[in-house]
C-alpha cells in the first residue's frame, strides 16, 4: 500500500524525493514537543529597516503552538485546536481560524510542518520538497487562488527533524523570515 502511494506521489509531485519527505514528516511527527527560541525579521516595503522581534516558540503535538514574543513588546500567542488567542499587554484577542481563512496559511504552515501532518499541508498548499533527509526545504504555495493573492509562498528549511527557518513571501513583495535556534532548555 505504501509503495503504491509512493508511486502515485511521485507521479503527482514530479521530481520530489518522496521517501525523504515521508521520512522528514515522520521524524517531525515523532517530536511531541519542542521549546525553541526564534528571531523574526519582517521586511515591509513601507519601512526602511526590517521589524525585528524575538522570543520563544513552544510546541505540543498535535495542535498547540505558542509564540512567546519578548522583544520588542511582550506578546503571547497561542494556537490551540483552530483557535488563536493573543494577549498583548492588557488586551486579549481571540481568533477562530475558520472565520479568518486569510490567516490560516501563516499559522497552519508552521503547525502542520511541526506535527509532520503532510495531509494538512497538502490540503492548503502545493508542497515541493527538495534536498534530503539531512538537509531539506519545503516550498509551500497556497492552492486557493484567493489566498495566493496574499501569500505567494512559504519556504521552510530544516534538517532531519528540526526546522531552521520559515520564510513567508507575501504577494505584495513583503516577506518575513523567522530563524529558529536550537532547543531552549529541555
Amino acid at each position: 500500500m505504501n509503495r503504491l502511494l509512493a508511486v502515485v506521489a511521485v507521479l503527482l509531485m514530479g521530481a520530489a524525493d518522496v521517501p525523504d519527505l515521508d521520512r522528514v514528516m515522520g521524524a517531525l511527527a515523532q517530536r511531541k514537543e519542542g521549546h525553541v527560541s526564534f528571531t523574526e525579521k519582517k521586511f515591509i516595503a513601507m519601512l526602511d529597516t526590517p521589524v525585528v522581534s524575538s522570543g520563544e516558540l513552544l510546541y505540543n503535538a498535535p495542535d498547540r503552538l505558542e509564540k512567546r514574543t519578548l522583544l520588542p513588546k511582550p506578546e503571547d500567542l497561542v494556537l490551540q485546536g483552530g483557535i488563536v488567542t493573543a494577549q498583548r499587554g492588557k488586551r486579549h484577542y481571540t481568533l477562530d481560524l475558520k472565520q479568518y481563512p486569510q490567516v490560516l496559511p501563516f499559522i497552519e504552515s508552521i503547525r502542520a510542518t511541526l506535527a509532520g501532518d503532510r495531509a494538512a499541508l497538502q490540503r492548503i498548499f502545493k508542497v515541493d520538497f527538495t534536498g534530503s533527509f539531512e538537509r531539506w526545504s519545503l516550498d509551500l504555495v497556497p492552492l486557493d487562488t484567493k489566498l495566493a493573492k496574499t501569500v505567494s509562498m512559504i519556504h521552510i528549511e530544516g534538517a532531519t527533524d528540526f526546522i531552521h527557518t520559515v520564510e513567508i513571501r507575501e504577494a505584495d513583495g513583503d516577506r518575513s523570515l523567522m530563524t529558529i535556534s536550537p532547543d531552549v532548555g529541555q
Binding site: 523574526e40 526590517p50 522581534s53 514574543t69 488563536v84 493573543a86 481571540t94 477562530d96 486569510q102 513583503d174
Partner: protein
C-alpha cells in the same frame, strides 16, 4: 302585552340595536400589557413607549436546529440572503460579514472624530512617536499583520483604537461562518423588522417571511443532492413538521418589552412591560445590548476582514463552539431541521392568535355546556331561547360599555365574558323555575345579589391594571342589564303558557340530601382551622411574587427565549444607567461625562463592562474637541518629522495620512444620519431614545458573574458626576424595580379587595337589617374563600394578584346563593327555590369552570378560583342554613 310591557320591550329593542352597532364597530385588541400594571412615572412611561416602536421591539431571534453544522450554516446563509432582499426587514445578522464595507467605510472616514485617543497630546512629536512606534510593534505580531495596509493612512492607529473601543462586546460564537449557539447545536440569526413591535399585522407578515425563507432553504437541501446524509434530515421538514414556533403570547425572558407587542415577564428579570419602564428598559437594554452586540460584532468583523486590526478578535465564548461543531458533524444520526423563533413580534403574533382561539373556544364550550344543561332541566327549547335573551343582552351591554369606556375591547375581556353567561343566566332560571310559586321576595333577593356582585366588580375599577378595569366594567354593565331585562322585559316576552319541566323532584332530592348531611354549625369550624393550618404550613410559598406569573407566555416559550438570548450573547441586563436630558447632544455629552466613572468601576471590578451610545455617536462637542486637537498642517508636518527620527519609516510614505488628517480638520461632524445603512445605526437607535420632548440614553451595565453587584457603589460613582442643567442620571435596578412595583400593586389589590369585601358586608347589613343575618350570609362565603385558597395552595398553585381578585369574586358571586338560603330560613323555602339555586349555581360554575382550563393565566386563575368557590358557597350556605333549621321549614 301591557303598555308598560310594550314600553319596556321598545326600550330594550332600541338599546339592543345601539349595542349591536357599537359592538360591530368596536376595536378589539390583544395588547397584553393591559394585564400588567401601568407604569407610574414619566421616565418609565417614556421608556416603555419607546420600546413599543423602538429597536428592541423589532428583533426576531431565529434558531435553526438539526442536521449538521455545515448544513445549518448553509441554511442560515440562504435564509439571510433571502430575508435581506425582503423589504420587510431592515437588517439581518447571522455572523456573515455582510455590509461590512459600509461599516468600515464610515468608521474609517470618521476615525479622527470617533477615536477616544485623539487629543492634542496625540499629535505632538512625542505623541506621534509613541503611537507610530506602537503600530510598528504591532506589525511584528501576527495579530497586527493585517493592519499593514492601513499604515500609510492611519499610522497612529486610530482605526484599531476604534475597533478596540467597540469590540469589547461579546459576539456569539461562530461555526462554519455563521453564528451558532455555545453548544454548537443551533445556528442563530437576528432579523430586524421594519414594522414596529406594536404593529402586530406587520410582525405577523415578518414572521411568515422568516418561516417561508426557512422552508425555501430546506427544500433546496432536500431537492438537491439526494443522498443518505440529507435523507433523514428532510424527513420532517416542511410546513409545521418539526418546527417549533415560539407560540402563545409574550414574555421574553430576556426581556422583550414593548407594550403592544408583548408583556415580558421573563424569569430572568427583564421587563414586564407596562409594569415598569424600568422593566421595559431592562428588556430593551437586553435587546439593545444584543443589537449592540450585533453592531459591534459587525464592526469587529469589518475591521478584521478589512484592516484586520488589533481587535480582529471575536471573543469566542467558549472554544467549545468549534469543537462541538465538528463533533456534531461527526455523529451519525442527524435530526430533522427545525426552526425556532422568539422575540416581541413573535410573541405578540402568537398571543393574538392564542387569545382569539381561546375566546372562541371558551365561548362555544361554555355556551354549549350551559345550553345543554338548561335544555335538560327545562325540557323546553322555547324556555331555553327566552332564557338566553338576557344573557345576550348583558353580553352586548358589557362589550359596548367597555368599547365606549376604554376605546377598545381586549380579547381577554371577551374571554372573561363567558362567565357572564353563567351568571346572567341565573336570573332567568330563577324567573322560570320560581315563577311557578308565588314568590314575593324573589326580586328583592335577586336585586341584592346583583348589587353585591356589582360592588365586588366595582373594586376592580380603580385598580392600576387597565385589563382588570375592563373586566370590572364589563361584568357590572352585563349583570345589571341582564337583571333588568329579566325583570322588565322577559316576563312580557314569555308566552303565558310557557311550561318547563317540573324540577320539584330535583329540589326535593337536594333538600333531602341537605337533611342527611346536616351538621351542627360548630363542626363547620373545622374548615377554617384546617385551611388556616394549610396556609400556615405553606406560608413561605403561598404568594408568587414574580410578575411573570401574570404573563400569558408559557414557561416553555420563556425558556426558549432565554436560551436564544443567551446563545446570541445578549447579556442579562438588569442594571441600567439612564441619562435623560432635553436634547440628543445634552444626553450624549452627559453619557460621555459618565464614561470615566463607569470605567473606574470596571477597573475596580464592580461591573464588568458597559454599553453606551456615545461610542457609536460621540457628542458634537467631543467630536469638535477632537477636531481641534488636530494641529495645522505645517505644525503637524514638523512634529511628524521629529517623531519619525530613528524610526524606519519615511515621511514620504505618510503622505496619505497627512492628506486625510488635514481634511479631517474641516470635515462635517458625524451625525446619526451618517450611520444609516451600517450596523452602528442599530446600536445607536437601541440605546438612544426620544419621545420628542426628552431624550434618554441607556447605558446597560454588565454585571460580574461571580459576585453580586454592589449597586450602591454604582449609585455613588454616577451621582458624583457633574452634569449640565436639565440632565439627570438614574441607576435603575430593573429586577428590583419590578419587584417593588409588583409588591406595591399587590398591596393595592389587597386593599381594593378588602374594600370590596367590606362594601359587600355593609350592603348586606344595610338590606338585611340584622347583624346576625349578615353574618350568616357572609360566613359561608368566607368559608368558601378559605377552602379554595387552602385547596389551591395544597395543589401547589402559587397565588397571584389574579387569585386575590378571584377570592373577591367568590364573595360577590357566591352571595347570590347565600342570600337565597338566608331568605329561606326566614320565610320557608320551597323545593323549587332549592332546585333553581342548584341549576343557577351549576350554570355559574360551568361558566367560570371553563375558564379554569384556559391557557391564558389571567383567565385560568380567575376560573380556578371562582368556579370551586361558587360551588362551595352554595354548599356551605346549605349546610349552615340547614344546620339551624327544623325539617319542616325545609319542606315545600
Amino acid at each position: 302585552m301591557t303598555r308598560t310591557g310594550r314600553l319596556a320591550t321598545a326600550v330594550w329593542a332600541a338599546f339592543l340595536l345601539a349595542a349591536i352597532v357599537i359592538v360591530a364597530f368596536a376595536r378589539y385588541t390583544t395588547d397584553l400589557s393591559a394585564f400588567l400594571p401601568r407604569s407610574p412615572t414619566p421616565t418609565q412611561r417614556l421608556l416603555v413607549d419607546q420600546l413599543r416602536e423602538g429597536i428592541a421591539s423589532r428583533l426576531i431571534l431565529v434558531g435553526i436546529e438539526g442536521a449538521d453544522p455545515a448544513e445549518r450554516a448553509r441554511i442560515s446563509m440562504a435564509m439571510a440572503r433571502q430575508l435581506r432582499g425582503d423589504a420587510k426587514f431592515m437588517a439581518v445578522s447571522n455572523g456573515e460579514a455582510v455590509g461590512v464595507d459600509k461599516d468600515r467605510e464610515v468608521l474609517f472616514n470618521h476615525r479622527y472624530l470617533l477615536s477616544e485617543t485623539v487629543t492634542p497630546e496625540r499629535f505632538t512629536a512625542e505623541g506621534l512617536r509613541d503611537s507610530i512606534q506602537e503600530t510598528l510593534d504591532l506589525l511584528a505580531s501576527p495579530v497586527g499583520m493585517l493592519a499593514k495596509s492601513l499604515l500609510p493612512r492611519d499610522p497612529t492607529g486610530e482605526m484599531l483604537q476604534i475597533i478596540d473601543q467597540l469590540g469589547s462586546e461579546r459576539q456569539p460564537p461562530s461555526s462554519d461562518g455563521v453564528w451558532a449557539s455555545r453548544d454548537g447545536k443551533r445556528a442563530l440569526l437576528v432579523a430586524q423588522t421594519r414594522a414596529a413591535g406594536s404593529d402586530t399585522d406587520g410582525q405577523e407578515a415578518a414572521v411568515a417571511a422568516v418561516r417561508a425563507a426557512f422552508d425555501v432553504a430546506t427544500r433546496a437541501t432536500c431537492t438537491g443532492a439526494r443522498n443518505e446524509a440529507t435523507a433523514n434530515v428532510c424527513g420532517e421538514v416542511g410546513a409545521g413538521g418539526a418546527a417549533t414556533e415560539a407560540s402563545s403570547a409574550t414574555a421574553g425572558a430576556g426581556g422583550v418589552a414593548t407594550e403592544a407587542s408583548s408583556a415580558t415577564a421573563g424569569a430572568r428579570g427583564a421587563a414586564t412591560e407596562a409594569s415598569s419602564a424600568a422593566a421595559g428598559a431592562g428588556s430593551a437594554a437586553t435587546e439593545t445590548s444584543s443589537t449592540a452586540a450585533g453592531a459591534r460584532g459587525a464592526a469587529t468583523e469589518t475591521s478584521s476582514a478589512a484592516a484586520g486590526a488589533r481587535g480582529a478578535a471575536t471573543e469566542a465564548s467558549g472554544t467549545a463552539a468549534g469543537a462541538s461543531g465538528t463533533a456534531a458533524g461527526a455523529s451519525g444520526a442527524r435530526a430533522a431541521l427545525s426552526l425556532e423563533m422568539s422575540g416581541p413580534g413573535v410573541f405578540s403574533v402568537a398571543a393574538r392568535a392564542n387569545i382569539k382561539q381561546q375566546v372562541a373556544t371558551l365561548s362555544v364550550v361554555s355556551t354549549l355546556l350551559i345550553t345543554l344543561m338548561l335544555l335538560w332541566v327545562y325540557r323546553s327549547g322555547r324556555a331555553l331561547v327566552l332564557g338566553l335573551i338576557p344573557v345576550a343582552s348583558g353580553a352586548l351591554a358589557g362589550i359596548s360599555a367597555v368599547a365606549l369606556g376604554f376605546g377598545s375591547v381586549h380579547g381577554i375581556t371577551l374571554g372573561f365574558g363567558v362567565t357572564l353567561i353563567g351568571e346572567s343566566v341565573d336570573y332567568s332560571i330563577y324567573l322560570f323555575i320560581q315563577s311557578q310559586q308565588r314568590n314575593a321576595t324573589l326580586w328583592s333577593t335577586i336585586r341584592l345579589g346583583v348589587l353585591t356582585s356589582v360592588v365586588g366588580f366595582m373594586s376592580l375599577l380603580p385598580s392600576g391594571f387597565p385589563g382588570l378595569q375592563q373586566l370590572g366594567l364589563f361584568s357590572i354593565s352585563g349583570l345589571i342589564v341582564a337583571a333588568l331585562v329579566t325583570r322588565y322585559v322577559l316576563p312580557h316576552l314569555m308566552p303565558p303558557n310557557l311550561t318547563i319541566a317540573d324540577v320539584t323532584p330535583l329540589g326535593a332530592a337536594v333538600a333531602a340530601g341537605i337533611q342527611r348531611v346536616r351538621m351542627p354549625t360548630t363542626l363547620l369550624l373545622v374548615v377554617p382551622i384546617a385551611a388556616a393550618l394549610v396556609l400556615y404550613t405553606h406560608r413561605g410559598s403561598v404568594w408568587n411574587h414574580e410578575i411573570s406569573a401574570l404573563s400569558p407566555v408559557s414557561a416553555s416559550d420563556q425558556a426558549l427565549d432565554a436560551m436564544l438570548r443567551s446563545d446570541i450573547g445578549a447579556p442579562d441586563v438588569s442594571y441600567l444607567v439612564v441619562v435623560s436630558g432635553p436634547s440628543q447632544e445634552a444626553v450624549l455629552h452627559a453619557a460621555e461625562a459618565v464614561n470615566p466613572a463607569l470605567n473606574t468601576l470596571v477597573e475596580e471590578k464592580v461591573i464588568s463592562g458597559f454599553e453606551t451610545p456615545a461610542r457609536y455617536l460621540p457628542s458634537l462637542e467631543a467630536q469638535r474637541a477632537r477636531q481641534t486637537s488636530i494641529p495645522k498642517p505645517e505644525d503637524l508636518q514638523g512634529n511628524l518629522v521629529r517623531a519619525l527620527q530613528g524610526l524606519p519609516l519615511q515621511i514620504g510614505r505618510l503622505e496619505p495620512f497627512l492628506h486625510d488628517i488635514d481634511s479631517a480638520r474641516t470635515q462635517p461632524l458625524l451625525t446619526r444620519k451618517d450611520l444609516d445603512g451600517t450596523s452602528l445605526a442599530t446600536g445607536v437607535d437601541a440605546l438612544l431614545l426620544s419621545d420628542g420632548a426628552r431624550w434618554s440614553a441607556l447605558l446597560p451595565l454588565r454585571v460580574p458573574t461571580t459576585v453580586a453587584i454592589d449597586i450602591a457603589r454604582v449609585h455613588s460613582a454616577v451621582s458624583k458626576v457633574a452634569l449640565g442643567s436639565g440632565v439627570e442620571t438614574v441607576v435603575l435596578d430593573v429586577k428590583g424595580e419590578i419587584d417593588k412595583l409588583y409588591s406595591s400593586y399587590l398591596t393595592e389589590v389587597v386593599r381594593l379587595s378588602l374594600a370590596g369585601f367590606a362594601g359587600i358586608v355593609v350592603l348586606l347589613g344595610f338590606f338585611l337589617r340584622s347583624a346576625g343575618r349578615t353574618a350568616r350570609v357572609v360566613a359561608p362565603l368566607a368559608l368558601a374563600v378559605l377552602t379554595v385558597t387552602a385547596g389551591l395552595v395544597l395543589l401547589g398553585q402559587q397565588l397571584t394578584i389574579l387569585h386575590l381578585i378571584g377570592m373577591l369574586l367568590i364573595v360577590a358571586v357566591g352571595s347570590n346563593y347565600a342570600l337565597f338560603f338566608d331568605r329561606s330560613s326566614h320565610e320557608g323555602s320551597a323545593t323549587l327555590t332549592l332546585a333553581s339555586l342548584v341549576v343557577a349555581n351549576t350554570a355559574t360554575v360551568l361558566g367560570f369552570g371553563v375558564l379554569a382550563f384556559s391557557s391564558v393565566p389571567v383567565l385560568s386563575a380567575l376560573g380556578s378560583t371562582v368556579a370551586p368557590g361558587a360551588f362551595l358557597a352554595l354548599v356551605f350556605s346549605a349546610l349552615l342554613a340547614g344546620g339551624g333549621d327544623t325539617p319542616r321549614a325545609m319542606a315545600a
